[in-house]
Symmetry: C2
Subunit: 98 residues, 2 copies
Amino acid sequence: MSELEICMEKLILLFHKYADEDGDKKHLSKKEFKKLVETELPTFLKTQKNPKAVECIMKDLDTNKDDKLSFEEFLPLVAGLSMACDKCYNLQQKHCKK
Amino acid sequence: MSELEICMEKLILLFHKYADEDGDKKHLSKKEFKKLVETELPTFLKTQKNPKAVECIMKDLDTNKDDKLSFEEFLPLVAGLSMACDKCYNLQQKHCKK
């Protein structure tokens, strides 16, 4: 398997590691999403000033408003954070060259 | 670093591994994108019947039509493939239970 394939597989398995905890294995419940963010994104969570940050993010991601997140609804969080990290990476590279 | 953070870091480094090959380090040129798809997504590429598949995919992803792909433009490919893989994963899980 290629690096990218391994990365995609890891994303799927990671989603299911949390989504499989309760009955509905295809979705993250509020509790499961909270656990995922607290465990997987502690650094990001520390930057959030709103104490209800996790609830707010979930609300934003839950496009069909069914109070749970599918893998499809979860992905924009990963994409958004990756884009933010990439901007930091580019700034760092620029800075290193100086 | 958490599993998810490692995964996002890998995605960024992988993009830059290919994007850094020519002058413009923030974007994938056509040549760089072709190399990325051929190297990182060989299994996916084999399922494509159109011999110009890589060009077509690039055209779809290149939303601002500047003939190169930013990290932001590249991410929907990863998201789309991950979603397709997740569907397979769910089907497989269902099948395994029978």
